[in-house]
Symmetry: C2
Subunit: 497 residues, 2 copies
């Protein structure tokens, strides 16, 4: 095939295993042969009806569902670029992202029915959820084989930055392929895996650590629109799930459920956990059920795996994120630019075939994080032990990780500043048993302003995705600053954290 990208994968899989089930969704199965045919149909319809061409963006706004997966592969068949949108974004956030990505087509999924017709203000040409099946039916199942190389951009995934302005990380077909290869080196995935995909596919971890490697191996993805404790137990038992990906809080919710003790977890083989280190008590709770975690460290820009901690070291190296993935490299750089010695902190740099070529239309921000040798500056600080196992100790980037979602305080603060009662503000992360961290806003009110904390939180509602809205908001008389007037978050965390 001339298509060396991921768009060709349903066809490559269907050469080998046309009759195996690729996707299960709400009781319906779709085989690899069907997935291939539907991807061809959708791609030909996108080209014919919406004029999608090589390099054009094709956005999808919806939960985990077959149409999202089909759009991912169909875009790849055309050499177009898939843009999965975070369904949790508030309308102004979504508008910003769509204006930046400027997609040739925006497909609206479940939960957005009618959105395309009632003109809810989203820019671009829409395919309403109701029109999706007609679109697929309008297309041809004849093979499409556009020349696509592994260096071509496969998708753009938006990540908020420390500036508060979301930016699109471009990931190539090669980036996603090599991440899957790194995973196959570390995890003996089989062709009969049943992978529960309930973490949102608009995040890199779910897309790249569950969907992509499962399709590569010819396994079955059980798609779920969202994570739900009861439903997770039900699916594990009924579908005989073998692979699960989640953030620590998801795995924590399961242990606190009344169903935990009696649940049949015997089908599970691999628990992939990302976003934050798994706390030792959680490791123990699963160990008692004969289950170990596969952990790691990564980010959207590295597609995502950079470090990996295998099952055999989940206890003795608990709290670390492991060692570099096989085909990737990680180094820790001390503030003076020299390699950090074991035990000493250093900024985490990542290199390898999984590292993005840059941010979409952001040459300056790309140059800030990528050097000429392809090393990506993560903005996180790590400390390696004598065996090379890296513990992520701090973030140079000001970011809160809450239930696996990255929250950038700068973004929340900029919206808070839009309220007339706010003289100064700072958002910090505070520990939370369920979510790892949650946001806390500290606000110096403008003298004479009559607003209450609740008024400010309501101001955020609708302007920011819900998960970004601080759980706590507290008025304070002043915020600590250094001599140059720069806000100091460390003392704030110490005092209010």
């Amino acid at each position: 095939m001339r298509n060396q990208g991921i768009g060709s994968w349903p066809a490559r899989r269907a050469r080998m295993t046309p009759g195996r089930v690729a996707l299960s969704y709400q009781g319906h199965d779709r085989t690899y042969g069907e997935l291939r045919d539907r991807a061809y149909r959708l791609a030909s319809a996108l080209a014919a009806e919406l004029g999608v061409r090589r390099g054009d963006r094709v956005a999808y706004l919806g939960p985990n569902e077959p149409a999202l997966v089909e759009t991912f592969f169909a875009a790849g068949l055309l050499g177009a670029v898939f843009v999965p949108l975070n369904t949790r974004l508030a309308a102004p956030e979504l508008r910003f992202v769509l204006e930046d990505a400027a997609p040739a087509a925006l497909l609206l999924g479940t939960g957005r029915e009618g959105a395309g017709r009632d003109g809810d203000g989203l820019p671009g040409r829409h395919v309403p959820a109701e029109a999706y099946e007609d679109l697929v039916a309008a297309g041809s199942a004849a093979p499409i084989d556009e020349p696509v190389s592994r260096d071509d951009v496969c998708l753009i995934m938006y990540t908020s930055g420390t500036t508060g302005r979301p930016k699109g990380a471009m990931l190539t077909h090669g980036n996603l392929t090599w991440n899957a290869v790194n995973l196959l080196v570390d995890v003996p995935l089989r062709h009969d895996e049943v992978t529960l995909v309930s973490a949102p596919l608009f995040h890199i971890a779910a897309l790249a650590q569950t969907l992509v490697p499962t399709v590569l191996k010819g396994g079955r993805c059980v798609l779920e629109p969202s994570f739900d404790v009861e439903r997770t137990f039900e699916l594990i038992e009924r579908e005989r799930v073998t692979v699960m990906f989640g953030v620590p809080s998801m795995f924590g919710f399961l242990t606190r459920s009344p169903r935990w003790a009696g649940a049949d977890l015997s089908s599970l083989r691999h628990l992939l956990c990302g976003g934050a280190p798994v706390p030792l008590p959680l490791i123990r709770a699963y160990q008692e059920r004969g289950l170990t975690f596969l952990q790691g460290y990564g980010m959207t820009e590295t597609a995502p795996g950079a470090l990996f901690l295998g099952a055999e070291h989940s206890v003795d190296k608990a709290g670390t994120a492991g060692v570099p993935c096989f085909f990737s490299d990680v180094r820790l750089v001390a503030p003076d630019g020299t390699p950090a010695a074991p035990g000493e902190p250093g900024e985490v740099y990542v290199q390898g075939p999984n590292v993005m070529p840059g941010y979409w239309r952001r040459p300056e921000e790309s140059a800030e994080v990528l050097d000429a040798d392809g090393w990506f500056r993560s903005g996180d600080v790590g400390i390696a032990d004598e065996d090379g196992y890296v513990r992520i100790s701090d973030r140079i980037k000001d970011v809160i990780i809450s239930g696996g979602e990255n929250i950038y305080p700068a973004e929340v603060e900029s919206v808070l500043y839009g309220h007339p009662a706010v003289a100064e503000c700072a958002v910090i992360g505070v520990p939370d048993e369920r979510w790892g961290e949650v946001g806390k806003a500290l606000v110096v009110p403008r003298p004479g302003a009559a607003a209450e904390p609740g008024d400010l939180l309501r101001h955020l509602d609708g302007r920011l995705a819900r998960y970004k809205i601080p759980k706590y908001l507290q008025f304070v008389p002043e915020l600590p600053k250094n001599a140059a007037g720069k806000l100091l978050k460390a003392p704030l965390r110490k005092r209010y954290g």
Copy 2:
């Protein structure tokens, strides 16, 4: 690391699993940490003592043993090119290959002790087997990290051609890496594999289908200098071998041994078989022991996997070589250049990241087999069934495959013609229960010559590798030719085959 090639693999593995055993050989184990250190030592010594530089060839002449594996990785660390030599070659054949490869260093292994000193005529700078450990000890274990890309040539492997002149297929680090990735997609190799490496590593199948993927996964290779039935049973039982590669005749020998019935084969998980389709009775014999074959089709030039037949189809698709490997493509081209329809024969073309960039210093022969799009012409004929499973039906190339070794009749004939009693000759393959095929020479004696068939066979001895010497040699009154005087082998096969 700047080294993205296979030379970096021992170091990459040692980041993850320094204490796991990489190689077992005659009761001695070597861990990944030791393999990394010894590869560094050998590489630094090759550079310092023998002046090996990037792009230089480093040849190894010896059986499967740790020094061969270390030389492979050490060459890769320097960006040098590994040239494994077939130990079965006769002196004149070996001389031709060495003159063609012009290695900066030739390491002599077990069985060639003293060869470097007594000047046996091999060109190039030698490292006698006795000097090997001193060389390693002279080197430094400090990390070496030369910039090596996956597009750089990793090794040159010689393959005789239809012209009778061996040519070196250049394989890049990427070629071997992608072949291993294709294998991981098809076979769920684990980190605890114990791989018996008794097929010779100077052939692509053993190197690329056993050693390379096992190191990638962090498993253990049990190196054996050669295949021996008794010893194979002994090793399977003692080392708890999980993966074996062989040609059908090797697997056939095992079933005919008196040890077969009582052997403990319970550790075996994957039987990889190449060179020729596994006959159905052999499939059945192993099935009775709960074992299925993984088969395929490939060649040196495709590093080697092109087609793969998984365990689940080993019976219903027996006799075929399967479907294209995941990241590779295969098409069948009819004589008029159009795609061959299912059921119709076509020449097998292979494309993908595993296809060689060309033959060493043979631009014309490279251009003959590789087109501008990277499609490699195999010279074999295949017929696909309706499901895309390809049966290799014939060879456009005149080649005999005997016990997994390719014998090119043209090469044997040219040596036969060197005997004064030979007026005309032709070598054909005849079926053989043990070896699949063996060679049979048909000779028209020169009028008045007094030589017997045995004289001619003795003439070949020492001039050709033993495995190339025909098992049968028969005098015939004439050889069939077409109107243009071209020798016709088909009627010969019909009459004498």
